[in-house]
Amino acid sequence: MSAKTLRHLIVVGLIVLWELLPRSGMIPELFLPSLSSTLLAGWNEAGEYGHALAVTIYEVAVSMAFACGGGILLGAIVGSLPRPRLLIMPMVSSLYAVPLVILYPVFTVWLGIGSESKIAFASIYGFLPTMLATAAGIQTIDPQLLLAARSMGATLGQRLVRVIIPAAIPTVLSGLRVGGALVIVGVVVSEMLISSAGIGYLISRYRTILDSPHVFAGVLLVLFMAIAFNTAIRWIERRAAIWQTGMRAGQNAADEIGSGAMQPAT
């Protein structure tokens, strides 16, 4: 049996188990409601979930603009200048060790429990890893390419458009993937903690009244959101692959960053 078929069988098996184990009573429905009752619960309250989803997506979109825009810009600047890089990068990666969740209460005090505090928190949550990823990726641009362009007399504008930007695209995309995933986590986590709207709020509220099917419907929705985002970015990455010819070093680094250390912390 090939590895792929076995893998698909495992996935199918897990889904079937999710339906069968709670039904047969081997796992109490309170701990794990069966797949069908979860989907049914979500379907029955579709309006409520739809409204919450709209709130969450709005918050995610705004925070993503802040986190990824700022992170990619600052990361590009810091990464391409050697002096600030030596100075700042170790500080930033040391800052990355701080569990940023503890900042959320500060934001709720400053900005209230509406969308603003979520956006502020999620932006900061996604900012640091995006910046680290971009700064690390910018360094992988092959200096030979720049040298070749310069010795053939390319102007600064040409160098930027023809060499630096195409070479940086894989980096920027992997930064976007990391940052975006973290922003989704940040928004949902902050909604779960203190909030009055959004999917995280629904999950928390149904959890307090021990309504597991509705909790899991919310969890499923967030999962789908994360998967959809990941797929979208991968699609763009494939479309942009035409830029990456002869960029093995950069591409490898981008892959390493994307799949390695800087993934959503919880």
Partner: protein, 251 residues
């Protein structure tokens, strides 16, 4: 040597400048001091908090939870990662699944842990374990793959025993990657445990911080944030220091 000293001084200067700006904004009233108590007040509160038995107790609770989750997740994850990396077929089957599990947000499963374990010690450890294990598995696989096949072949052809290969070849090549993995998994672990405490708990430092936030006790809240940040950064720097010490093993 001169250059590194300048850089270190510049870094210290940046940190001092941030605290000075904080102090200034609050003292001059540009920012409402009720919302942002000055840096000196916060540090004084921090000192006061560290004297209190209840805060110390909370720190102890959190530390126990973090260490328990860490002690469970690291050996377990390392074992799974090792098995996956050593068996090609198993790796082909499991890797994409693990990558997928790794890329989904773990925090949304927190309510599930509460439904199963309640809001006590077991739930914190369980969630910390859950948020750490995937990164440990992934890093161990990378670490095993970083062992050079040539080194193994040489060791075997000279008739090294299993123990010798393990300690003379595997361990030295894997150590730098493993230390890095330890550092990152500790970050994940700490975040997981503190989030679980903030979400639903009776004790622990995360719970304290959330309570101070809800009661608008800004001084205590900021002092708590500074405290946790300092602890996390110290641990991080400690492992990084060990990492640079061990880097001469890297071939």
């Amino acid at each position: 040597m001169q250059a590194t000293l300048t850089i270190k001084l510049a870094r210290v200067a940046i940190v001092i400048a941030i605290f000075a700006l904080w102090e200034l904004l609050s003292r001059t009233g540009i920012v409402n001091p009720r919302l942002l108590p000055s840096a000196s007040d916060t540090l004084a509160t921090l000192d006061d908090l560290l004297q209190r038995a209840s805060v110390r107790n909370d720190l102890m609770v959190t530390a126990t939870e973090v260490l328990a989750a860490f002690a469970l997740a690291v050996p377990f994850g390392a074992l799974i990662g090792f098995l996956i990396a050593e068996n090609r077929y198993f790796a082909d089957v499991a890797k994409p699944l693990l990558f997928f599990a790794f890329s989904i947000p773990k925090s949304i499963f927190l309510p599930m842990f509460i439904l199963v374990f309640g809001v006590g010690f077991a739930q914190k450890v369980g969630f910390g374990f859950f948020s750490t294990i995937f990164i440990v598995i992934m890093s161990t696989t990378t670490a095993v793959e970083s062992v050079k096949v040539e080194h193994l072949t040489v060791a075997r052809s000279y008739g090294a025993t299993r123990a010798q290969t393990a300690f003379r070849v595997y361990l030295p090549s894997m150590l730098p990657v493993l230390l890095e993995a330890l550092r990152i998994s500790m970050i994940f672990n700490l975040t997981g445990v503190i989030l679980a405490e903030m979400y639903a708990s009776r004790d622990g430092i995360g719970h304290q911080i959330a309570t101070w936030g809800e009661n608008f006790q800004m001084k205590q809240l900021l002092a708590g944030v500074v405290m946790v940040a300092a602890i996390a950064m110290t641990f991080n720097e400690l492992i990084r220091w060990v990492e640079t010490r061990c880097s001469h093993w890297r071939t």
